[in-house]
Symmetry: C2
Subunit: 498 residues, 2 copies
Amino acid sequence: MSTLYDQYKTTLQKHADIEHSIAILQWDKEVNAPTKGSDMRARQLATLSGMAHELMTDNAFGDLLQQLDEKSDQLAFAQAKNIKGSLKEYQREKKYSTDFVMRRSRVVSNTYDAWLKAREANDYKLYKEALKQMVELKIEETEVLGYDGHPYNALIEEFEPGAKVADIDKLFTDVRQRLVAFAAQLKEATQVDNAFLKRHFPKSKQWDFGIHLLKNMGYDFEAGRQDISAHPFTTSFGSRDVRVTTRIDEQDFGNMTWSCIHEGGHALYEQGLPATEYGLPSGKYISLGIHESQSRLWENNVGRSLPYWRAHYKDLQKVFPESLGDISINDFYKGINRVEPSLIRTEADEIHYHLHVLIRYEIEKAMLEGKAPLDSLDEYWNAKYKEYLGVDVPDDRRGILQDIHWAHGSIGYFPTYSLGSFYAAQFFQQAKKDIPSLLTHIEAGNNAPLLEWLGEKVFQHGRNYSAQELCERITGEALNFDYFMDYIEEKYRNIYEL
Amino acid sequence: MSTLYDQYKTTLQKHADIEHSIAILQWDKEVNAPTKGSDMRARQLATLSGMAHELMTDNAFGDLLQQLDEKSDQLAFAQAKNIKGSLKEYQREKKYSTDFVMRRSRVVSNTYDAWLKAREANDYKLYKEALKQMVELKIEETEVLGYDGHPYNALIEEFEPGAKVADIDKLFTDVRQRLVAFAAQLKEATQVDNAFLKRHFPKSKQWDFGIHLLKNMGYDFEAGRQDISAHPFTTSFGSRDVRVTTRIDEQDFGNMTWSCIHEGGHALYEQGLPATEYGLPSGKYISLGIHESQSRLWENNVGRSLPYWRAHYKDLQKVFPESLGDISINDFYKGINRVEPSLIRTEADEIHYHLHVLIRYEIEKAMLEGKAPLDSLDEYWNAKYKEYLGVDVPDDRRGILQDIHWAHGSIGYFPTYSLGSFYAAQFFQQAKKDIPSLLTHIEAGNNAPLLEWLGEKVFQHGRNYSAQELCERITGEALNFDYFMDYIEEKYRNIYEL
């Protein structure tokens, strides 16, 4: 058995080597690569994707998995889980032809390039044709994979195993009813001021402060680095090389700061995964919803809390005395939590954020149903923003071109952002129960107890539990929207003095 | 035939995709990667190397090459050349087992890491064991490959096809006799001053000036970029993404400047290779000697010439008025060409440079003969520097740890540096004949005519001609040391007023 298991491990780790190489090529493409190289890079990515696919769908590997799965009672717990997980992945991957995978890789590269150009020109028209190709490909993909009910179920499985359109719809019913009702209450209250966030914050000082925050969270710069990219992201080349990117706007302090903390949260999860389990499910994150629970927990539950800024606000004022010297910590805290409908998802407040997600989710469903008006999707997008958020979208860059996801082929991804916030609220509530002094530590600038708790509860298990199982294990119950709603109500009643 | 040729092309381009991916991972390792990630990166590189090797040594691919070669009269000239070249590569590669290739990749990663650590600690001892492993591996490699005469012949073939120890020995006889004799004459003359090069040159201004020089040479920043690394190098991920690195010493203007021009020369060659021939021999550089002829031609024949600085010196003075304001262009020109035995190869003058190479060449031959005293190779190195250059090596960083090559597994590489200088002199002499106004253009800051000439004579042909054939085609004769000697004598008699 142990020889068979070793064979399995060797193959899977080789597969991980290729997948991580792909991640390096992609990271480089987004952070460094010169424009003219994109065609060549596209074919290099396609070749590696094809090879990864061939390795994963090799019949002999399938037989090996089957054999191991049949004798899984002779395996240790994590080993048996690994085999189950890999078998599922094998079966899913087996549905794709190598041709499809390589074609998909090329379409992704092209769509990304088109998105980049369109974004620069601030013009959806330059993106349209590429996006059409992408949507066509994704519809084809739902057919390749097969599905029950809505074609969306075929795609979300990749990002959030076990999630179904029916569940997501239900969550967004809560968003639409309870969250929107609460937002309406806030609208009646006196608005808090955050104009100071739009004062001048020099680039290099922001950069240094972001690095400082990342270090303080526990991000290990000897096992990662930060760079600038158009859209902030985290990527892993194995848990010893986990990189984050950010962007800096000198006229908007918030842009860099909370993207830094957010990506830092993702990166802590990746750096915390057991290095000994390299390439195996037991060394991987569970789902994007759980991944997002980590970034959201740090970004919002910690990074937009009063205790957190009690630890950092004095330092921050020292870095930007002209812009923040006259702002009290209470006014700062209120300002960074100002609730207001706006245009950009990544800059949205914690409440309206989920309406941004809802819009994308609805468009994605329409795309897969073949009903999205792709020729004028910018207008369609803008109409939804008017309807749900009451805002006028002035241009494509602040509208449909703001997100990279569809350009990457990630359709079915957005709902995991909302799931992440809801998990985060539930987990953080539990962390406060488990560590009664948690907020005191955070207030003292000591995030180690929280990081340790996350390591014990989440990171060390890799993919040994599903998202649903993990939530039960940590909090004793299934995902429950009440935790998020309670967190929001308590926090914002206080800020808005309701 | 055309179907068979297309099959060949597809395989070879897939191979190029993997090789370029490896280059990206390596570039990233040297420019960006965090220290803790090196083990994981090592295994990723090993996996990709193994896959590239398997693809290249596939029996079906060998049969295909054989078939095509037998019918090469039905192929176009460049196609037939490609098949010949690939068949040769196939036969060489076939001698290696996949196990050996992956092992070699891991040894390279380890040795590189050890070199980096040893360099930082300025201590050969930290490198010693890794280097021993490497030398052992390279000896094994000479046996795997087989050779006539000296085992060195097995390895140099990779870098300089067709070159033999006997030829190299002969060239170094010229170096030892004619070049050393001339250096002795210069020693009697009044030394020129270059102390101004060691004044203060702020980092960011040096960086900007280097970028300016690269652009002026014709380096395309939309198809490349420059970064900082411990040892400057050029790498290609396909001719549309060719990157250079440099290093900057604020107390030494020369360090950055001529490494920039040098790497720029390499990069122009790579950017000039025909993109349509991606992955094929007809899209690749000929040999390292020819590659080096390009970097040396720009670095020395152009970049250390009076006409070149007539174009740039005023700009340079404007950038560094405190350090160069009081230095006339003639004194600058003389200073940057000061001849003097020194410690660091990459900073050596054009004459003593070849003694640095000779030392490495002798050590490499001893390594492969199993006669190099690896336990105290630092002392062995230092003794040779004393003997050949008359200098005392004060520490390992300025001694045996200065070069990356052995850490990369590149044993048999160094002689190509000298070959490059000799080719460069012969080519540049021809360029001046072919373009009578060449120096006038360079003096006006216009390098386009030279770049065009190189494109026509060298770049466009890829690997269609061997180094020897190319030299004949361009200059009407074989490599001839006289050109280099004449260039050196004329230039330095003038500078040293002999």
